[in-house]
Symmetry: none
Subunit: 432 residues, 2 copies
């Protein structure tokens, strides 16, 4: 069985920039020698990380590629944010991400004027979160709220009768009212009942938060200093599941990861992957790319049979609408990946968690290029370049995120013929 490196370049796919005469990957294709070596000697295709037209968030894009059914197994962004803050939700708890925000009341609604309360300081936020947490407990809510960083916090609801399949109270824009949390559509009757109970609690907590925070001395002082009051919390990031199965249990790999961004660490930790620390890995365009690649190779030497290598900054440069800088950064990744071409008995996969358009500055539901390569004999296709338009003609076709892990199992010689049902336990005989 071969080992596996899955390299996810965040926001890899893009749109065609007139400035470049192509996407950033198409622009660098003539000189991206390492990428092209993988493409020329591997199998290429396009990947819709979730489904055609569905724009993935960073956590859902990764989970889908890791083979999780996010319609059923997604515990929500709040869960990963909690883990990132070293709060591990128990199986009877659900976690949400919160923001301290500024609202003004108008016609029985709370109009959001700043989703981060003027980027309130951590000290003030800490005190406000603590005041709210005391009131939650005084009022008998089965909930705890914990400050993490700056305006951010985590809300945990405890009880088997709750389900996180609810909409956000955060309207995700300013000038509009706070939303009422509601159960998702298309739940089973019993799920719906639990989600309704949860949504009601979130709505009651929102009202309590306004009562408690609006009159808090810190907000009186902020008002006197001409600063927006941090007088409510916005809640978001629910999910359908309460826990998530480990990567090992799901796919049988002993996995490690190399990643710098907090959310990606949160996702990988949630799946039980072990962290490989790399000095100078920052998640920015100046990150230590060579170090990250070395870290991945080290993990393989240490006995891990699956390494997830995450490279972040291509996404940031797309959000900043800088296609040329993105192209330069992708070319640097291309150079840094060169040592991987020397690996034997290893399946290398290079793809992205979503397209981020450096024209629109946002995630999109368009497919990303993917290549699967190993040094040994394998099927090759006619694709010579690693970019969106070339990979459209690849031998893997146009797939969806949840297809990838099965291909990885197969190409790393772990697949079992469909219709063969291996057991995990041995027969123990008492007669001998």
């Amino acid at each position: 069985m071969k080992k596996v490196i899955l390299i996810i370049i965040d926001g890899l796919g893009d749109e065609t920039a007139e400035q470049l005469g192509g996407t950033p990957l198409e622009y660098i294709a003539p000189k991206a020698e390492t990428f092209n070596m993988f493409a020329e000697n591997g199998l290429c295709g396009l990947l819709y990380p979730i489904a055609p037209g569905v724009a993935p968030a960073s956590d859902t894009g990764h989970l889908s590629i890791f083979g999780y059914d996010i319609r059923k197994e997604y515990p929500g962004r709040g869960y990963f944010e909690a883990l990132g803050a070293n709060i591990k939700p128990k199986p009877n708890q659900i976690a949400f991400r919160t923001n301290l925000a500024s609202v003004i009341p108008k016609n029985k609604e709370l109009i959001v004027i700043d989703r981060r309360a003027g980027r309130i300081s951590g000290e003030e936020a800490e005190e406000l979160y603590r005041a709210l947490d005391e009131k939650l407990s005084e009022n008998g809510f089965p909930a705890k709220i914990i400050h993490t960083l700056e305006h951010r916090g985590v809300l945990v609801i405890e009880g088997d009768e709750y389900l996180g399949a609810v909409t956000d109270t955060d309207p995700h824009e300013v000038g509009v009212p706070i939303c009422a949390s509601e159960p998702w559509e298309r739940l089973s009757p019993s799920e719906r009942e639990m989600a309704e109970r949860t949504a009601n609690i979130l709505n009651e907590i929102t009202k309590l938060a306004y009562d408690v925070l609006n009159k808090h001395p810190i907000n009186k002082m902020r008002e006197e200093r001409g600063l927006p009051k941090a007088n409510v919390i916005l809640i978001r990031g629910g999910g359908i599941s309460k826990t998530i199965m480990s990567f090992r249990e799901k796919w049988g790999f002993k996995a490690a990861f190399v990643a710098a961004g907090a959310l990606y660490k949160g996702v990988a930790r949630a799946l039980g992957m072990d962290e490989i620390h790399v000095e100078g890995a920052t998640g920015t365009p100046k990150t230590n790319l060579n170090g990250k690649v070395e870290g991945a190779l080290r993990a393989l030497d240490k006995g891990y049979d699956f390494v997830f290598l995450h490279i972040k900054a291509a996404d940031n440069l797309s959000h900043d609408k800088k296609p040329l800088e993105k192209a330069d950064f992708l070319l640097r990744i291309n150079h840094a990946l060169k040592p991987i071409l020397g690996l034997e008995d290893t399946v290398v996969v290079i793809t992205g968690d979503h397209t981020t358009s450096s024209i629109r500055g946002r995630h999109m539901g368009l497919p990303v290029p993917m290549v699967i390569w190993s040094k040994e004999e394998m099927r090759r296709d006619r694709v010579k370049k690693f970019c969106e338009s070339a990979c459209a003609e690849g031998g893997l076709g146009v797939l969806r995120g949840h297809d990838l892990m099965q291909l990885i199992l197969d190409l790393s010689d772990r697949s079992v013929e469909y219709g063969t049902y291996p057991s995990k336990s041995k027969l123990v005989l008492s007669v001998f």
Copy 2:
């Protein structure tokens, strides 16, 4: 957010005609300049309107492309025929399409000898339908039957205990017996019970119809004139759902449509789209194509953000096995679409509701070409021509009908990242 025009060319895809050295679209590709402009500056792919190998009917092909799950949300062709005849089924009613037909009894069966009763006149049909309707009511059937045009009618069954998931009594050919209606396969136990009740009623109504019609004075006269008796009704066009969600509720668009054929109007009306009337739009090869395109542009000016433009006659020419005439008509469409290339901030989609083979003269389950274009920067692929073989190498890949609306939402800047759960309602506070 961009506006959207979805252009559906009925029966667009085809098979390779030796006479043309390609499909009709491939035959005109060297000179189809407008089609090619869309292809060269947009994203192409192939679309199975329902699923690979599934030949869509005109209503199911459209519904699937509009993003409806026709396994669960399809109210049946009878529903659309009823709407087309200005009969709006209530939520506790189910509608079927009926034909007056000619049968002869043989060994306790009714052998169909003419499925349209010798294309009986509207006047005679009207009287026969009225006579049957009276008997339905006298005999206590929870049913009404209404004449529409020529041999055609609509049968409406009323009651919450009925479900239209039943097979047709119409055998769809002559020389064979009328069929017994039966529940569909793969229903839940409660659905099955309701469908059984419905099928029984349809079978009883069929027997009653023969009793009433066979001895009706009009049929005595027809017999004397040597005309086939209109002595039974054939019933068809059931469906699983009783109503259908509006397009606005489903996708958030304020939609208008330009279409000439009755069934397409019925489908668009059923989804709550507003009609844009165009003088000279006939659904035939001589239709006013320029007028239809102008109508679509007018709708965008009037504030609609989604326009469905339907062009019919390519399908008719395929049924008539005239690939060259189809090619000529497609080239005329190509010319008529030129003004659309001038649109700004609009996502243009061109595709078909199904392949109609002008070799076999029938709908097929092969994919149709599709292109998504907008004037502004977007991802482009390498495809230069709009035809089956060129689009097979497109950057969207090979998709299914239900994928298209998500791509339209994304490319028109309406998508929301998966993992973000916007609420549809506002939080209302009682304290102010």
